[in-house]
């Protein structure tokens, strides 16, 4: 994983308002099992990521993303396009 940019930090900051259980965020934190987000929380969180980076993360892509690290990687990839 590329740690040289601030993508992970920006993603982490956007997780905070939805991190009701104050889970410590690492690249391996899982959205479903660790953060226990429901579908509406996921929708709002994805929208905030999309707005922050001006990208589109389709449901098809979301299905492949389990951890915060994977999301940061996907955001980096999508931001390049």
């Amino acid at each position: 994983m590329n740690q040289s940019d601030d993508t992970f930090a920006r993603v982490e900051a956007l997780i905070e308002p939805f991190n009701k259980k104050s889970v410590a965020i690492t690249p391996d934190t899982r959205f479903q099992q660790d953060l226990e987000w429901d579908s509406l929380t996921v929708l709002d969180f994805v929208a905030s990521i999309e707005d922050e980076f001006d990208i589109l993360i389709t449901m098809n892509m979301q299905a492949e993303i389990e951890t915060v690290g994977q999301l940061a990687d996907a955001v980096r990839e999508l931001s390049k396009r």
Binding site: D44, D51, L56, T58
Partner: protein, 400 residues
Amino acid sequence: MSDLLSKFDSLIEQREKLLESGVTDPFNLVMERVESPTVAICNGKRTILLGTYNYMGMTFDPDVIEAGKKALEEFGSGTTGSRVLNGTYVGHRAVEDALREFYAMDHAMVFSTGYQANLGIISTLAGKDDYVVLDIDSHASIYDGCAMGNAQIVPFRHNDVDALEKRLNRIPSEAGKLVVLEGVYSMMGDVAPLKEMVAVSKAAGAMVLVDEAHSMGFIGEHGRGVAEAQGVIDDVDFIIGTFSKSVGTVGGFCVSNHPKFEILRLVCRPYVFTASLPPSVVATAATSVRKLMHGADKRAHLWENSKRLHGGLKKLGFTLGTDEPQSAIIAVIMPDLETGAAMWEALLKEGLYVNLARPPATPAGMTLLRCSLCAEHSTEQVGEILNMFAAAGRATGCIQ
């Protein structure tokens, strides 16, 4: 050997726990006799039906019944074939003619259910590299259509025009785009801001499909739905509808003015690879659709019923899905599944049937008692319904 059904263990456990409490199984009710669109016998008890989607009460219309009997005698009990082989009878053409007239559109295609209409049209229109932009609260048949077509799915927050517009603008401009909306959302009974949504969709170069299953027959000047009521029906590319609600039988359809529409009959798998509707069903549907063209008085009474029930429930202290009645669906929000099931059972004991709706069908994990009104509910029946809600609500502690 791994048991493939073990993935449902948590649901099995939840159900067992609920039923152990002694509550009647809300998903196992049997209607022993049906007296009219609004009354049935359940567990030997006369029960007012307030959860049938039978909005216009056409199921016992004498002309509709007569047409069905005649077709059953003349054409037999079933077609035993696909629409594209031996399954298109004059009756199938006749109901498609009735739909074209009802909607004033060039093309109509009838499916065996409303679910199949969404499954078929969406999966055929939107393929792997196309984008379907949809409201997060869309019906299961819409999501399943997207999955079957393998389209890129882009959800947006319920009824949020800005969220829709932002997402549309982020899709590559050359990609195929289908925006899927519903006129009335069936869980909360709220209406979509179609005027604004259709405008932003068209500006982004997207095609628009609107599912008007829960509005046909009574919303809009001619009963064509929310798109008609909001003056944007001419900008909608495809309207999906069903015969299993206001029309009063079973079946689904798509109407459109697209010049290439007819090719869909050959490429749409849920249309091709299933048996067509029985002759009696299409005969009842055609008769009912034609009668709905002249249903202005019934429509007015249905709206009166909806306003009266909404106002009455609000006054009793129930929390409702919408501040004002927007359709013939009124959703009563329950604090949790246990209370919802207890309230559902208390209403049934009073002699009232409503739908208990729970996740994943409901948005935001809510438990709802969903009421759908009928144009054939009398003013007295609506009064009876309110009394039953008052008694059941107090007995279960839902209201003071």
